[in-house]
């Protein structure tokens, strides 16, 4: 018992430090403009100013940004799940020529830093006429090698007897994927889907380059632009930050085991 206190004390201190920014974001978001920039600061708002949230939301077209972000994140997630599922199934179950070389090439693309792709992908988008469209935001990231890798591991773990039995029942290759393998891979598919939704929601560098107009802006880009517009209005920044963070926190609250599973899986056989 005395030993466990030695662990609890540093863990609680660490947890308080970890959670403090969330607390500070929320309390600032509820303060009035004068209290927000008071020094020494108050640890709890003397009066809860709920009005900060609608004010921050209306200070920039955040409603539009939200619609864009949800659309892009869902579109990207759908594409990643479908394309990764198909590719993973091929790598795991279809004996095609050049499989190992293609798989190595896929893995190698994970090594490419995004900086190298910025300029050529930008020019490709311009040439295709996709600049400043949803296609520019979705298509370049419409698959994920990590997702393919994760799902391939799962499909490889399916017993061969399952395939044999399905074949006897007249199930073709695609039927096996659609009716048996994919439903069994549901937890892995959810993990992959959530990771790509999360990635799309957080992206800044690519949306900054692939779009130009305010109509095509995503939430995080909008938030970044907002902070350079509204100088020193920290209570509104914090309100806006909290609002753009909220959907991700809600999703995490309901699906935390998939996120944690995704992170811990990435370490295995890295």
């Amino acid at each position: 018992m005395s030993g466990s206190w030695m662990l609890h004390v540093p863990l609680v201190i660490g947890a308080v430090i970890t959670l403090f920014p969330f607390y500070w974001m929320m309390t600032t978001a509820f303060k009035g403009i004068e209290e927000a920039s008071a020094f020494p600061p108050t640890f709890w708002p003397t009066q809860l100013v709920w009005d900060n949230f609608p004010r921050a939301w209306q200070a920039a077209p955040f409603g539009r940004y939200l619609v864009n972000t949800v659309f892009v994140a869902l579109g990207q997630t759908f594409c990643v799940v479908v394309s990764a599922c198909l590719a993973a199934y091929a790598f795991a179950r279809v004996p095609f020529r050049g499989k190992n070389i293609v798989f190595m090439c896929f893995l190698a693309t994970m090594m490419i830093p995004i900086e190298v792709l910025l300029v050529p992908d930008f020019i490709i988008l311009k040439t295709l006429g996709w600049y400043d469209t949803y296609l520019a935001l979705i298509v370049p990231w419409a698959t994920s090698v990590f997702a393919i890798f994760l799902l391939r591991q799962f499909f490889l773990s399916l017993p061969n007897e399952l395939w044999d039995a399905a074949q006897i029942d007249g199930c073709g290759r695609f039927g096996f994927l659609w009716r048996i393998a994919a439903p069994m891979a549901k937890p892995a598919l959810v993990t992959v889907g959530l990771l790509s939704f999360h990635g799309a929601w957080n992206a800044l560098l690519w949306p900054l380059i692939a779009t130009g107009s305010s109509e095509m802006r995503l939430l995080q880009v909008g938030l970044a632009a907002f902070q350079s517009d509204a100088r020193v209005q920290y209570h509104l920044w914090m309100a806006a930050a909290a609002l753009t963070m909220a959907p991700m926190l809600v999703i995490f609250f309901f699906a935390q085991r998939y996120f944690i599973e995704g992170a811990s899986r990435s370490g295995i056989k890295g």
Binding site: P10, I17, E115, P120, P140, L205, A240, G267, G270
Partner: protein, 316 residues
């Protein structure tokens, strides 16, 4: 037999088609295209061929070397601090204590927050005038700092009270960059903790039982069993976080002035340098050349890690 394999091959590539298209069009072919672009004086439109002039221009530009130094400081700081903390927290959370899943949830929470929003919060915490951090440190007698506005090196600032001025090469990363490192550690620690916990849970308990019978103490078990058996996990974390740190952008973009690269350019990392040359100065050829140089640095660093540290990793 031959025709069956042929049919299989067609089927295989049909399944691969969507992923293959995306990777080919936007990840694989663009590398070669980037190489091509980097050999031209490419502004908004393609200009004349200049060979390796963009590369030599970068290599002789102090701004490029400064951005590389910032990147290396940042990556080194983030990787070392994150791994040490991940091992400590991950180890504590695999012991038999109460509330493990709650601790894990708390430490993981920052990782899922959008970097832009979270960095904005830290910018407010680090605020030189109204920031809570200066206030809290003031309570324990530490003088107020400029944090994200401070171009002076961390070593220089720490030696200031005792009146020693370190030479220029030893001043260390600016306090502004250190502040961003602190933010990144806060934001990414949950990933490391979860990976370390997964690695620790893979160590069979029989190994510990056997060591206990042989009379090993807790420190010996940590040194002789836990760390060696965890080394593949730590190696993975090191490689992945180094690659990630070399691509870091959002935190620098949000927390310090992107136009000037932070105070006196001390937070302008390589990604930011590339972004500026591309986006603000529309020097597409030059930006591509710098991106390639960075790519080689990351590749070299990864190979170095694999060659130097790889052989010391114990695979079960």
């Amino acid at each position: 037999m031959e025709s069956v394999r042929w049919r299989d091959s067609i089927a295989g590539y049909l399944y691969l088609l969507p992923a293959l298209f995306v990777l080919m069009a936007f990840h694989f072919i663009p590398i070669f295209y980037a190489l091509y672009i980097s050999m031209f004086n490419w502004r908004i439109l393609q200009g004349p061929f200049v060979g390796i002039a963009n590369y030599t221009a970068a290599l002789t530009n102090p701004d490029f070397w400064d951005s590389l130094k910032v990147t290396v400081y940042y990556a080194g700081g983030v990787v070392i601090i994150s791994i040490v903390l991940s091992v400590l927290i991950g180890y504590a959370l695999t012991q038999r204590i109460r509330g493990r899943s709650i601790y894990r949830l708390v430490y993981f929470l920052p990782y899922i927050t959008p970097v832009v929003a979270a960095a904005l919060v830290f910018r407010w915490i680090f605020h030189a005038q109204y920031g809570i951090l200066n206030y809290v440190l003031g309570l324990v007698g530490i003088p107020a700092q400029q944090w994200l506005l401070e171009p002076r090196g961390i070593v220089e600032l720490m030696l200031l009270p005792i009146g020693i001025a370190p030479p220029g090469w030893a001043v260390g990363p600016s306090l502004a960059l250190v502040s961003i490192i602190i933010f990144t550690v806060w934001h990414s620690i949950g990933f490391g903790v979860v990976v370390v916990m997964a690695g620790l849970s893979n160590i069979p308990s029989e190994v510990y039982d056997a060591a206990r019978i042989d009379g090993a103490g807790p420190w010996q078990m940590m040194r002789r069993i836990t760390l060696p058996l965890l080394s593949p996990t730590l190696f993975f974390l090191m490689v992945v976080s180094t690659i990630g740190a070399f691509q870091s952008f959002s935190s620098v973009y949000i927390m310090t002035d992107p136009v000037h690269g932070g105070p006196l350019g001390t937070t302008r990392n390589a990604t930011m340098y590339i972004f500026q040359n591309f986006f603000e100065f529309t020097r597409l050829g030059y930006a591509s050349a710098v991106a390639f140089l960075l790519f080689f640095v990351v590749l070299g660093l990864t190979l170095l890690q694999v060659k130097v540290i790889g052989p010391r990793v114990h695979y079960q």
